[in-house]
């Protein structure tokens, strides 16, 4: 029997906190052969990153391996002294992180940073190391590597920075590379390029890879074996196909169901109980009658544009219409102008040009700084991207939800307000006992619910959703998406859904608009648009989305054959 490259046996990692020790990993066992690619999947708090950090001994001071062994080529590396471990770093194992820009030194040219990594493990002249660094930049497919050697991290895009990180990580030919959420925060097309590159390099060099990710689709596409973690334990381990088509463990089943794919429907996202509830609501909600002909659309945007001081316009010639109760998706990569557009429609930012007609009345003429006085302010509300940043740290959940009611509906503190806030909380499924809590005492999902409750408190007619689930775990995302769809049906609410997640948009939206560099590239009925994209750009976007429902022969097989 060949000895595995890495074997983790019954690993326990404990963090000492003020409220006593917290076990982040409790009995994790896995093994990895030479050259193998393993996916480590789980939601936040599952202990997947901690497992990675424990293996590379990068745990912060509060964390400690309390039990179990980590065997690298048969040798327990939890016991060896730090000085010996340093020799292992880089040459034996190496790690890349989520935010490449933060992982690179901002005041040192990238070429020098690669040279540093080489020289810390190999004895060679600076010139030889520089030549080596150049070769590495070529290996990670950076264009014009000679010029890029002297570039600083801020001069490179996020995807470029991650390639440089990969170059640093592989500079000493490690046997094992641990990639902790390497593409989170990158655009989907960039994600595909970086992941393809990583898979290629691993295959070329026979390097084993552990891909730590929350994205089941990504793990499925790039790994031969996937390990699912929950609460510090391994719950299931299988080949991706088995895992996704015949999950055994209840948690895996929930996770697989909650991950949106190209074919999922909103009602399939969450498990039986909640699903029944949702279906009941959907069945109970009578379809809203079509408005009499001649009624203006809820929202009509004509030739909207936004120009900042110089350069290309952030948004140009953006037009759309939306009927009441309709949901429209706005997709595009970072810098495509989708956020600017959503802020203009919300009247938080002034447009440079164009017209916004809400319910037959032009609302664009009132400047954004005066719009809080408009009677339409309560009709157009917004849910923000990161629930952690969208609640005032000094407001309780109650205050957050009550605030628009006090300002826009003219309610006064009292029993009526209390009842109204509680009703909103109930509608978004926020337990009433959480209302007196401050944001830092709530979980991410609970904060998201407070944000939605605040946005629907005044019974708006148009709700702009700015990546409402981008910062949430998939299981929480599933619940939030269902909630939003239910609210749309109940209140005949128009939804403008801004997102970079094509699978979510396809599922949630009747129509989709694809933006690129501030201009509309393509628009149409969502399913048709994604199934049969008309433009090259949309096709690229669609192709870059990792698929769970993989047919035989994913890219891994393709590469190794």
């Amino acid at each position: 029997m060949i000895e595995p490259l890495l074997r983790i046996e019954d690993l326990h990692v404990t963090f000492s906190t003020r409220r006593g020790p917290v076990e982040a990993v409790r009995g994790m066992t896995l093994s990895l052969d030479q050259g193998e690619t393993l996916g480590l999947v789980g939601e936040s708090g599952s202990g997947k990153s901690v497992t990675g950090f424990a293996t590379t001994r990068l745990l912060d001071a509060a964390g400690q391996v309390t039990k179990g062994r980590i065997l690298y080529r048969g040798k327990d590396i939890t016991k060896i002294p730090d000085s010996d471990f340093r020799a292992l770093h880089g040459a034996a194992m190496s790690m890349i992180f989520q935010n490449p820009r933060a992982a690179l030194n901002p005041i040192r040219a990238i070429g020098l940073q690669i040279v540093d990594a080489i020289l810390s493990h190999k004895r060679m002249s600076k010139q030889a190391a520089a030549d080596e660094a150049l070769k590495l930049l070529r290996a990670v497919q950076i264009r014009d590597p000679e010029q890029r050697m002297s570039a600083y991290p801020h001069e490179l895009s996020g995807g470029m920075c991650q390639r440089v990180m990969i170059a640093v990580a592989i500079s000493c030919n490690p046997m094992l590379l641990i990639a902790d959420e390497p593409t989170t925060g990158l655009d989907v097309t960039t994600q595909k390029i970086v992941m393809d590159l990583l898979a290629q390099i691993a295959a070329d060099r026979g390097m084993a890879t552990i891909l730590i990710t929350h994205d089941l689709g990504l793990a499925a596409q790039y790994c031969r074996r996937v390990v699912v973690m929950e609460k510090g334990r391994l719950v299931e381990e299988a080949a991706p196909k088995t895992l996704f088509h015949r999950p055994q463990h209840a948690y895996t089943k929930r996770l697989v169901a909650a991950s949106p794919t190209a074919t999922s429907r909103i009602e399939d996202l969450v498990a039986d109980d909640e699903r029944t509830q949702y279906l009941a609501v959907v069945a109970a909600s009578r379809p809203h009658p079509d408005p009499p002909s001649g009624t203006p659309p809820l929202l009509e945007v004509k030739n909207l544009a936004k120009r900042y001081d110089q350069g290309l316009p952030a948004v140009a010639d953006f037009s759309m219409t939306m009927a009441a109760g309709e949901s429209v998706g706005l997709v595009g990569e970072s810098g495509s102008g989708k956020t600017t557009t959503s802020r203009m429609i919300c009247r938080l930012v002034d447009a440079s040009d164009g017209e916004i007609v809400f319910d037959g009345e032009s609302i664009g003429h009132l400047p954004a700084r005066e719009f809080h006085r408009s009677r339409f302010r309560k009709d157009i509300q917004i849910v923000f991207q990161d629930p952690n940043e969208s609640l005032n740290p000094r407001f309780t959940a109650f205050d957050c939800i009550a605030h628009p009611l006090l300002r826009l509906v003219g309610m006064r503190p009292g029993e009526a307000l209390q009842r109204r806030v509680e009703e909103c909380a109930r509608r978004v499924g926020l337990p009433l006992e959480l209302l007196p809590r401050f944001p830092h005492q709530l979980s991410g999902g609970q904060k998201a619910r407070v944000g939605i409750a605040r946005a629907i408190a005044c019974r708006p007619r148009l709700l702009v959703l700015d990546e409402p689930t981008a910062a949430l775990d998939v299981s929480v995302q599933a619940v939030v998406l269902q909630l939003l769809d239910r609210l749309r049906r109940e209140d005949n609410l128009g939804l403008l859904f801004v997102s970079h997640d094509l699978n979510v948009v396809r599922m949630m939206c009747d129509r989709t608009i694809v933006l690129r560099n501030g201009r509309i590239v393509e628009q149409g009925e969502s399913r048709a648009l994604f199934d049969n994209p008309q433009t090259e750009y949309t096709r690229e976007l669609v192709d870059a989305v990792p698929h769970i429902g993989l047919s035989a022969g994913g890219p891994v097989e393709a590469l190794s054959s």
Partner: protein, 282 residues
């Protein structure tokens, strides 16, 4: 909420007992400032030439000065004046600086740039000389000492509030407040400012010590409180004449009072930074 804050405070104090000592010292100073005139054993301005220049003894804990006034009584009574000058000066510069700085940080643009350059010009002056010039020009009165101290503190508050607001202005909850019907002005005053207050409280505590020194310094060079009013700075200035003849207590005790007051405020400021820093709250 209150109990977790309390627990957190206790946790910080256990790791850094100096903060507790400093807080106790500040509370003691405030008590002395309030009750000073009634607990002082002698009238601080009554002279008694037969008792002049006596070293510390049981009757006169800190000795007497050239006019036979009890130094200890003068020290105790002076606390109120020194604290009032420092607190009102810091209060004024805090309120003005926080509001101006917050609007700068929120709006950016031309207003921010012009205020920023103005602050730069102010800071290019030696600040103490600026305070001297202001008191000399406006007249030697307590209000003017307060004003001068407030003005030279202002740039720090403007910069501080500007930086703190600037990092928060694009957060979701700020935009959410606008979507909930708040104007720009009320977003700054009712949403952003309360959120930067804890950080500014630290700055205030550190500045109080500095303001006391500054007021005493002005008095020391004759541009502050006029004799015979008891004030630490004047006491040091007047006592300095007698140091060469070995009458050390005239300078040592007011100097010690100044040093302890400044030390207490600075240590409290450092401790508050730890207590209020959310990163310490894990």
């Amino acid at each position: 909420m209150a109990s977790t804050t309390l627990r957190h405070t206790v946790f910080i104090l256990r790791g850094n007992p100096l903060t507790g000592i400093a807080a106790a010292g500040v509370i003691l100073l405030v008590l002395i400032a309030i009750f000073g005139p009634s607990i002082a054993p002698y009238d601080p301005v009554a002279s008694n030439v037969s008792e002049a220049l006596k070293p510390p003894s049981a009757a006169h804990l800190a000795g007497t000065d050239q006019l036979g006034r009890d130094t200890f009584s003068r020290l105790v009574v002076a606390t109120r004046l020194d604290l009032v000058i420092a607190v009102s000066a810091v209060g004024i510069s805090f309120v003005l600086g926080a509001v101006i700085g917050a609007f700068c940080g929120y709006t950016g643009g031309r207003f921010d740039r012009s205020v920023g350059r103005f602050v730069d010009v102010m800071m290019a002056f030696p600040l103490f000389v600026l305070a001297m010039a202001m008191v000399a020009a406006l007249g030697n009165r307590v209000e003017n000492i307060v004003l001068a101290t407030a003005v030279i503190n202002l740039p720090f508050y403007i910069r501080f509030a500007r930086a703190e607001v600037n990092v928060r202005r694009n957060l979701g909850w700020v935009e959410a407040a606008r979507a909930s019907g708040e104007s720009h002005g009320s977003v700054v005053l009712r949403f952003l400012l309360p959120n930067v207050l804890p950080a500014m409280a630290v700055q205030m505590s550190l500045n109080l010590g500095w303001a006391i020194l500054n007021a005493a310094g002005l008095s020391f060079i004759g541009l502050g409180v006029k004799p015979p009013t008891p004030e630490w700075g004047i006491m040091v200035a007047e006592g300095a004449r007698f140091i060469s003849t070995g009458k050390w207590w005239l300078v040592a005790f007011p100097g010690l009072a100044l040093m302890l007051a400044v030390l207490c405020f600075n240590l409290l400021g450092d401790g508050m930074r730890d207590i209020l820093d959310p990163r310490m709250r894990t």
